[in-house]
Symmetry: C2
Subunit: 228 residues, 2 copies
Amino acid sequence: MNGKEDVFQFLSNKTENVKSLREVVIESLREAIITGQFKPGDSLKERDLSKAMGISTTPIKEAFRILEHEGLIKTLPRKGTFVSELAETNIEEIQMLRGVVEGLAARLTAAKASDEQLKELEKQIEKMETLLENEEVDDLIEENTRFHKMISDAAGNSMISRVLMNISSFDKAFRRRALMENKEIKAGYSEHRKIFDAIKSRNPELSEQLLKQHILRTVTDVLKNKGV
Amino acid sequence: MNGKEDVFQFLSNKTENVKSLREVVIESLREAIITGQFKPGDSLKERDLSKAMGISTTPIKEAFRILEHEGLIKTLPRKGTFVSELAETNIEEIQMLRGVVEGLAARLTAAKASDEQLKELEKQIEKMETLLENEEVDDLIEENTRFHKMISDAAGNSMISRVLMNISSFDKAFRRRALMENKEIKAGYSEHRKIFDAIKSRNPELSEQLLKQHILRTVTDVLKNKGV
DNA sequence: ATGTGATATCTGATATATCACATAATAACA
DNA sequence: TGTTATTATGTGATATATCAGATATCACAT
């Protein structure tokens, strides 16, 4: 029966994978704000966006609620909705924030990850090693991100996962640039291996420190290369 | 004219201070979920809540968006909305998360707070000392919270403020209990004073460590007293 | 008793209308 | 010309209707 299901896989069109209008609006506006197309202080109007996107104000309104919760915009009741200052937040400090939160995740993972989770992490780090040797850069970048996510998930704390997801949606463009640099790829693997070793040896303190330092070093390097 | 405005302050009914239906729903549901009235897996239905609260589904729907973004509930399109597992997240780990984020805030504050901000912090810690001497417990609790908020705000990073606000809305009940214990009040002041001194002396590393340790100690003490 | 198609019901998604506060523009008056 | 009152407009908040996917139930054939 399982084989039969696979045969019809191509027919699948589950609505769980289909994006709602609200999600489309969120992603569009978030991208426009973060990349500077909308600047702090700019006014966003429900009816204008509704016309521009050819949809009703309802998904626009719902998207505003989420973006406001993320701090990217601010709504004053019956006065207007404006892009907030958050979009100009210091990217280095965002990475420091990410560093301390992922560091804590590494600590918790070292303290309580199951043997199975450790095995999965080991498989992952080995996969990354193979990709590094074969110089398959695009795949390595993707697996690096997965490695970080696996650590965060293994911490088993939904609030930590949520905070990191919010940070991630904010600095996606930055992190991709960081990982693309060739030097980063090699140094990054070396650090990832040390992080995994610390987790495997059940050393919470060291795990936290290594992951914090790893993230803070990548931001320092990227900013150096930018001439900032 | 300014004096006149103050005289009539009690008449003020500015809509900026009036809670929207959406905000009322958010707070009601969040409280019900966090305190266990709604349990993970429970179904929340827009039309049921609409009838129960005597309002339309629109503010219910918007509240759902926010609570989902906070991770407290999960909506499956056209299937239903359910209370998530987040509400059962380990409270100690939440406090550890708060510790690392507030610690980072203290570090940034020590690094870049203006002289004026330092003066404000000094006024605040002195106010807290007076309240401690006079044993005005309720006011001291409130000023302690304000002290933490001043440090976070002085860090000048909107994302950090936002993360802490989300954590705060989640563990408000816990923190109030922590601060109410008499022992905590005295130990808490001592630690607050050390934190301020570290910030004042522009020592980012020490500031971060002290604030982290302060928060982690309070959670350890509270859990000890709970017999957990 | 079981399988299948048709129908009904449930639930969130979205569209549209209306309300209500805030501000701008215009008219009236001194 | 300046001030005040009135009206119009703009914007978000909320109510209500309808759509559309998902599931449950019913009716009928085998």
